[in-house]
Subunit: 212 residues, 2 copies
C-alpha cells in the first residue's frame, strides 16, 4: 500500500488514525498543500481532485477518506470500525458525514484561501466564517450525542468507530482556530478518551515527518 | 416511514430517487428551507442540524442523505445500490463523496446566503463562487469517470448505484446556476441515461407537491 498524506489535512489525519488502528503501515508520500504541490502534474495524475489523501492498493487507486476507511474496514475486519446492525451503521455514518460533509468542507484550506483571495475578505472575516460553521456543526452534533443512549465512551458505544475517526481531526482543527469548546462537553469527553489511544495520538499532525 | 423533504434540497432529492428505486412510499412532510421553517423549534427537535432530509423508521431517526441511502439499501437489498466487491464499493462511495463532501456543501442555500449576507458579496460574486466549486469538482469527476473501465451506462457499470443517485441532483443544480456542461460529456451522458428511468424522473424538484 502507498498512502499520499499531508500532516495538516483533516481527511488524511482520519485515514492515519484508521491505518494505525488496523496496524497497517503503508509506504507514505507527503504532498504539500501549502506550496501547491497537491495541484502539480504528477499528483493530479494520481488524484484528479488534487486533494489528499489517496491510497494505492495493488492496481487500485482509492480516494475520499470515508470511502478509504470503510474499504480498510472491509479488507481488514478487526478491530471493526462499524457496528453490525443497519441502524447502528446509519448512525455512525451520519455522525461521520455531519463532520465530513457539513463542517469540514467549508473550512479547509482551499475555501479559506478563496475567501481571503478572490473574495477579498479580511483575516477576521475568515476566522468568523470558520467559527460560524464549526459552531453550527458542533452544536448539532453535541445535541445528537448528548441525547442518544447509543453514545458511550466513544461516539457509538464503547468501541472506536468511523465516527470517532472523524471527530478527532475536527476537534483538533477547531482548537487550532481557537474555537471555544466549553459548549460541547460530550464532544470534549469523547475526544479526551480517544486521545488516550496510541493509534489516535500517533496520528496527530505534529507527530508526522512532514510537520513544520 | 416518515420522510422530511424539501423539493429543492439536493440531499433530499438523492433520497427521493433512492426511495423511488426501492419502491418505498413513506409519508412525506415538507420543510421549507427558504422561509426558515427548517430552523423552527418543531423541526430542530427532529433534526438538530436543521437540514433536510430526515427519515423516521419506527423509533429511529436517520439523518444525512448518504447514510439514509446505504440504510435503505441494507434493509431493502433489491435493486442493490452498491457493488458487492470492496473496491467497487469504495469507488461508488468515493464518487458519491466527491459530490456530497466536495461540491454540494459549498453551494447549498445556507452558504450562498452567508456570502451575500454576512460577507456582503454581490449576486455576481455568489454565482462565480458557485461555478468555481462545481467546475473544480466536475472537472475531476469527469476525468475519473472517463478514465475508468468501471464506468458503464452509469457511473459504475450498468446498474444504478449510490454514485448515480448523487450525480443527478448535482447536475440539476449545476444547470440551475447556468453551468456550462459541455466540458463534461461523460457526466452528461450518464445523467441522460438516468433521466430515462421513471424512479429518477419522478424525483425531480419540479414534480414535488411543495414545488413553487
Amino acid at each position: 500500500m502507498q498512502f499520499y498524506d499531508y500532516f495538516r489535512s483533516s481527511a488524511a489525519y482520519r485515514c492515519r488514525i484508521a491505518l494505525n488502528l488496523k496496524g497497517l503501515e503503508p509506504e507514505r508520500t507527503f504532498v504539500n498543500l501549502r506550496t501547491g504541490e497537491v495541484r502539480s502534474d504528477w499528483y493530479t495524475k494520481i488524484n484528479p481532485q488534487q486533494l489528499v489523501p489517496t491510497l494505492i492498493d495493488g492496481d487500485a487507486t482509492l480516494t475520499q477518506s470515508l470511502a478509504i476507511i470503510e474499504y480498510l474496514d472491509e479488507i481488514h475486519p478487526e478491530p471493526a470500525f462499524m457496528p453490525k446492525d443497519p441502524l447502528g451503521k446509519a448512525r455512525v455514518r451520519a455522525i461521520s458525514q455531519t463532520i465530513a460533509c457539513d463542517i469540514h468542507p467549508l473550512n479547509n484550506l482551499r475555501i479559506l484561501n478563496y475567501l481571503t483571495g478572490e473574495l477579498g475578505q479580511s483575516e477576521e472575516a475568515k476566522n468568523q466564517w470558520y467559527v460560524h460553521w464549526v459552531t453550527l456543526g458542533f452544536t448539532a452534533l453535541e445535541a445528537q450525542l448528548a441525547a442518544s443512549a447509543d453514545t458511550g465512551t466513544y461516539c457509538h458505544g464503547d468501541t472506536v468507530t468511523m465516527a470517532d475517526i472523524c471527530l478527532v481531526p475536527q476537534v483538533f482543527n477547531a482548537r487550532r482556530f481557537n474555537t471555544d469548546m466549553t459548549p460541547y462537553p460530550t464532544i470534549v469527553r469523547i475526544d479526551e478518551a480517544l486521545a488516550q489511544l496510541p493509534a489516535v495520538a500517533d496520528a496527530a499532525p505534529g507527530k508526522q515527518p512532514d510537520a513544520v
